[in-house]
Each structure stands twice: as structure tokens, then as C-alpha cells.
């Protein structure tokens, strides 16, 4: 079996040798004319690696307006004529305080607002008391007082133009604006 394999291989080699010799002697015919077809290459934008920004860098990139538009600090609401911090406002203030602790350079303005069912004059005092309530609460949660300013707008800047219970509730509020970061 092995002998047969060796024999046939040597035969093949001999034939191949002769064949190659003949080829060299004979003139090669010109290659057939083929239309040239360049290879297609899709040109794509070189992949650039997106730098992975840290949270700090994202925060630093935003303008105050952009930051305020995201409303990272939520509004709290008050009862009619009252300025104490309601139970439903406490977790919101906790979140606001946590956010301020995370971003230690932030300074905020607490705006106290009232609904239209108080007088212009007295509402100015009431709005300020509402701002002060949130101010005191944030202080109790460990925020430094020099990071917070307060203002009252009385009833001059309602957020809801309606004249019903829902609108009045929406308007009796503290808003938190970022004024420095």
C-alpha cells in the first residue's frame, strides 16, 4: 500500500516536472481583457472614543439656566395662610438637602409664594415666612446657612393662573433656584 503511494507520488512529481518545463518553453498568451473592478470600500467616520465624563464634569459643564431647567430641587407646598413644613414636604426637603450635600458648591435661593386669597401686603410677609421655614429645615438637615438666600414674591408670581383649589394649592409654594454652583 505504501509502495503504491510512493510510486504514484513520484509519478506525479515527474509529470509535474515535465509539465513545468514545457510551460517555460511555450509563449504565454496575453491575459484576457477584463474590466477593472476596484474593490468597494465603505468610508466611515473613524471611531472616536467618547470620553466618559464623570458626574462632576457633567455638572460643571451645565449653565445655571440648564441646571435650573432640570429642577433638581423640588417644590414644596403649604396650607392656606400657613407656613409650617407639612409632612409631605419633609421627604422633598430631605432630597433637596441630599442634593445640596452632593454638590457642595451650590448656593440656592428659596422663593416663598402665596395664593391670591391673601392681601398683597400680608402675603409678602407670609411668603418670606414660608421661605424661612424651608431655610430652617434645610439647616436642621446640615446645610450651611451661607448657602441659602430667601426672598418673598407674595402673590405676584403665581405658577398656576387658575382660580380654584388646585391652582391655589399649586401657588402656595417654595421654589428652590440655584444661584451659584
Amino acid at each position: 500500500m505504501k509502495k503504491i503511494l510512493i510510486l504514484s507520488l513520484s509519478c506525479f512529481l515527474v509529470i509535474a516536472f515535465f509539465a513545468s518545463c514545457r510551460k517555460k518553453v511555450e509563449e504565454t498568451p496575453p491575459p484576457p481583457q477584463v474590466k477593472e473592478q476596484p474593490k468597494l470600500e465603505k468610508v466611515e467616520k473613524p471611531p472616536v472614543k467618547e470620553p466618559i465624563l464623570t458626574e462632576d464634569e457633567i455638572f460643571a459643564k451645565k449653565s445655571l439656566e440648564e441646571l435650573n431647567a432640570e429642577k433638581p430641587m423640588m417644590v414644596i407646598l403649604f396650607d392656606y395662610d400657613k407656613f409650617f413644613i407639612r409632612e409631605d414636604a419633609k421627604p422633598i426637603l430631605q432630597n433637596n438637602a441630599d442634593w445640596m450635600k452632593k454638590w457642595e458648591t451650590v448656593k440656592i435661593l428659596i422663593e416663598g409664594h402665596c395664593d391670591e386669597r391673601g392681601t398683597e401686603d400680608y402675603n409678602m410677609a407670609l411668603g418670606e415666612k414660608r421661605a424661612k421655614s424651608a431655610f430652617d429645615y434645610l439647616l436642621s438637615l446640615g446645610i450651611s446657612s451661607d448657602r441659602i438666600k430667601t426672598i418673598s414674591y407674595g402673590k405676584s408670581q403665581p405658577v398656576d393662573p387658575g382660580h380654584n383649589e388646585i391652582a391655589w394649592q399649586n401657588n402656595r409654594r417654595d421654589q428652590f433656584a440655584i444661584i451659584e454652583k
Binding site: E120, E128, K129, I151, S156
Partner: protein, 430 residues
């Protein structure tokens, strides 16, 4: 018949008040004023035949008639009375005729065209009984300011009778008609409404200086509520106070002081007083409650204000240095915005009952209270005319907030504005 009606109305009023304020004693008083002086104002004659002079005569006649009717000093005679007598001949006045229709005074006006722009208006008034000329003046005015010429003549009549010249005084107020709360000014009768600030910031609570040349007001800008004094005629502005939320200015009638509120100390609103140029600021109230809405007495020795030291906002009076505080409103649980009358004997204020605001007048001599407005609305921010006969205020009775004037006895309610929302009026003393 009329008396019976009044009694029934008064009873209804008392009953309704008893229901609304169980503890508040309300006494109605009808103030006896001076008798009105009956004035005959025949149509003004036109010297030439120009249409300009004729139009001008109509305007002048209308403005003077309206002024005198509003004055509560004079009373123009009903027009049909003039049908009983011969028309007026300015050169030959038949005083007996005018006396026969009960005229005490007779106004004679003659209008002519001076040139293309200017109108000449000669106005005189006579005492009918004595057939004597009292006073008169010839006014030359451009057509665009004829109303001012007419107001000046009405003022001349007021001055002659020892009354304040209210017809050229101005009202400052806040309007959002152009999209933002800005300062506006208008004539006492609602004409010539003019915008004063173009700062695109929110302006609030304006008050005239005593001479009627400057306005103290709050500007909300960049998270601050600062108090400024602004002279719109010269375009000059001066910062008064920039700590806390500062608001509610009121100049003293002797033009020496400016009272205002600020929350600079622990966010609690207190009352301060400065010189009228805004310097030398001193604090007047010291307590843990809110004190707002100062208003000077005419002799400048006292200040009325609102405080919630009793647990709810009530009206108090203190001496101008802040001492001797006494409460002047009782019953009800929400009184605010006191304004001391120029006559000294009355304080107008707002009382809130179940979210309805009405104006009341407290008579300081008799402790009587008169309810001035009626209507399920918010009537607020009252302020006096310089002569103490009229009160300007804001009300949302037509849905939007507009300015109104009403007389001290509840008569002559009149709406003055209609564009946008208009509020926080202050009537200049001069």
C-alpha cells in the same frame, strides 16, 4: 320712602354682618357733608367757526363737567334746567335767569383757535346772586393736552373754595398689559395711561413721594427684592435698601420720611423709616411677628400698620418712633393694608371674610366702621385721594384685576382701567 329703603338696607347690612362677623360690631354712619355748590355750566361758546375750536369746546366742557361732578364739592345742574331760560350771552349775562334755576355759580367759557396747533380757552366763573365775577383764566394749550387745561380750571375752582387741587394729580400703579409687571401712571380719572418703566424686571408696590415727583417701589431682579426711589421725569433712580425682601413704601405727608418693610432680620417683616431720600434708615418695630403696610397719619406723628402679633393680621397704630403700639381692629381674623385719610379721622383697610375682600373705613374719632364695597370679589390695596373724598383700589370683580375709585361713603363707584391686569394703585398728594 327713601328713608324706609335705607332702614331696610341698613338692617340687611347689619344682619349680614352679624352673620359674617359674629363679634364685630358694625355701625353704619351717613356722614353729613357740606351742601354741594350748584354750578351752571352752559355749553362753551366758540368764537370762530373752525371745527378745531368746536371739538376743543366739547372736550373742555366734558372734562370740566366730569371733574366738578366727581368733586363732591360742586354739583353741575341737570342739563334740562337750561331749557327754562334764555341761552347764555357772554357779553350780557342775565343773572336773574340763572338764579331762577337755582344756580349758585355760573361758568362761562369761550373757545377759539389760536393757530393750527393751539387752542385758546377763556374761562370765568361768577357768583350768581351777587352778580359778581369771582375768578377766571385764559389758557393756551396744544390740542393734545386740552384735558390738562380743563383740569387746571377745575383746580382753580377747588382752590377758590379752599379745597385741594386734585384734578391734575396722578395715580401710579402696576400693570402687566405689556406682558410684564411694570410701573404705569395715569390721570386721576383714568385718562393718559402711560408706561414708566421698561426694565423687563418685575416691579411691585409703587408709592408717590409727597411732591409727586418720585416713586418708591420694589424691583424683583436676580433673586433680590430691592427698594428704589425713581424719578420718572428725570430718569434718575436711587437704591434705598437691598437687604432681605424690601417692599411696601409710604412717604410721610410732610415729605421728610419714608416708611417701608423689610425682611432683613431673620426673614421676619419689620417696619423701617428712612429720610425721604432713602438715607438714615432706622428700624421701628421689634418683635417676632410680621409687621407690614405702614401708612403715615397726616401730622406724621403716627403710623398705622398691619401686624399678626395677636395671631392674625390686624390693624395697629404706633407713634412715629415705633413706641406706644395699640390695636385698632377687632373681630374678624384678617385685616390688612390700612391707609390713613388726609383728613386724619379715617383709616380705610381690607377685611377678608371667607376669601372675599372688602374695604372698610374705620372712623378714629367714633370707632364706627363703614363697609365700603360689596361684591363677591377681592377689593384691595386702598389709597386716598389728596382731599380724602375718594378712594382708589383694585378689584377682580369683572374677572381681571382692575382699578376703581369710590367715594368715602360708598358712592360713585367707577372703573378706571381695562387693559391687562392693573393693581397696587397710589394716588399722588400733589
Amino acid at each position: 320712602m327713601i328713608a324706609k329703603k335705607i332702614i331696610i338696607l341698613a338692617c340687611l347690612f347689619l344682619v349680614s354682618n352679624f352673620i359674617l362677623h359674629p363679634q364685630q360690631e358694625v355701625v353704619m354712619s351717613i356722614k353729613e357733608g357740606m351742601p354741594l355748590i350748584h354750578v351752571a355750566i352752559p355749553k362753551f361758546s366758540v368764537k370762530d367757526t373752525s371745527p378745531e375750536a368746536k371739538d376743543a369746546a366739547d372736550i373742555l366742557y366734558k372734562v370740566i363737567s366730569d371733574d366738578l361732578k366727581y368733586s363732591r364739592v360742586f354739583s353741575p345742574l341737570p342739563k334740562n334746567y337750561y331749557n327754562y331760560i334764555k341761552p347764555l350771552d357772554p357779553d350780557k349775562i342775565l343773572f336773574n335767569d340763572w338764579e331762577s334755576i337755582q344756580a349758585k355759580l355760573l361758568i362761562v367759557g369761550q373757545v377759539s383757535k389760536q393757530d393750527d396747533k393751539t387752542i385758546q380757552f377763556e374761562a370765568k366763573f361768577y357768583d350768581v346772586k351777587s352778580e359778581r365775577f369771582i375768578r377766571g383764566k385764559t389758557y393756551q394749550a396744544e390740542k393734545s393736552i386740552l384735558r390738562l387745561a380743563a383740569h387746571k380750571f377745575s383746580n382753580l375752582m377747588m382752590e377758590t373754595y379752599g379745597e385741594p387741587q386734585i384734578f391734575t394729580t396722578k395715580v401710579v400703579f402696576i400693570s402687566n398689559r405689556d406682558g410684564n409687571n411694570e410701573l404705569y401712571m395715569m390721570d386721576y380719572d383714568g385718562h393718559n395711561q402711560t408706561r414708566l418703566t421698561f426694565n423687563r424686571e418685575k416691579d411691585y408696590m409703587p408709592a408717590w413721594s409727597t411732591d409727586g415727583k418720585s416713586i418708591a417701589y420694589t424691583e424683583f431682579k436676580g433673586g433680590n427684592a430691592r427698594l428704589y426711589i425713581y424719578n420718572p421725569f428725570e430718569g434718575k433712580r436711587k437704591l434705598v435698601f437691598d437687604r432681605g425682601t424690601s417692599f411696601g413704601p409710604c412717604f410721610s405727608p410732610d415729605s421728610k420720611k419714608l416708611a417701608f418693610c423689610s425682611t432683613e432680620d431673620e426673614s421676619n417683616s419689620e417696619i423701617y423709616a428712612a429720610r425721604s431720600d432713602g438715607t438714615n434708615i432706622k428700624r421701628l418695630t421689634f418683635n417676632k411677628s410680621a409687621d407690614v403696610s405702614p401708612s403715615w397719619s397726616p401730622n406724621c406723628r403716627e403710623i398705622a400698620f398691619t401686624s399678626d402679633r395677636s395671631g392674625s393680621p390686624q390693624i395697629y397704630i404706633m407713634d412715629a418712633e415705633g413706641s406706644n403700639i395699640r390695636r385698632r381692629s377687632f373681630g374678624g381674623n384678617y385685616h390688612d393694608s390700612p391707609s390713613w385719610s388726609p383728613t386724619g379721622d379715617m383709616i380705610v383697610y381690607v377685611s377678608r371674610v371667607q376669601a372675599v375682600f372688602d374695604l372698610y373705613i374705620l372712623n378714629l374719632r367714633t370707632d364706627e366702621i363703614i363697609k365700603l364695597t360689596e361684591g363677591y370679589a377681592r377689593n384691595e390695596s386702598p389709597g386716598w385721594s389728596p382731599d380724602g373724598r375718594h378712594i382708589i383700589f383694585s378689584s377682580n370683580r369683572i374677572g381681571t384685576i382692575q382699578l376703581y375709585s369710590i367715594d368715602y361713603d360708598g358712592a360713585n363707584l367707577k372703573r378706571l382701567t381695562s387693559k391687562g391686569q392693573n393693581k397696587l394703585p397710589d394716588w399722588a398728594r400733589n
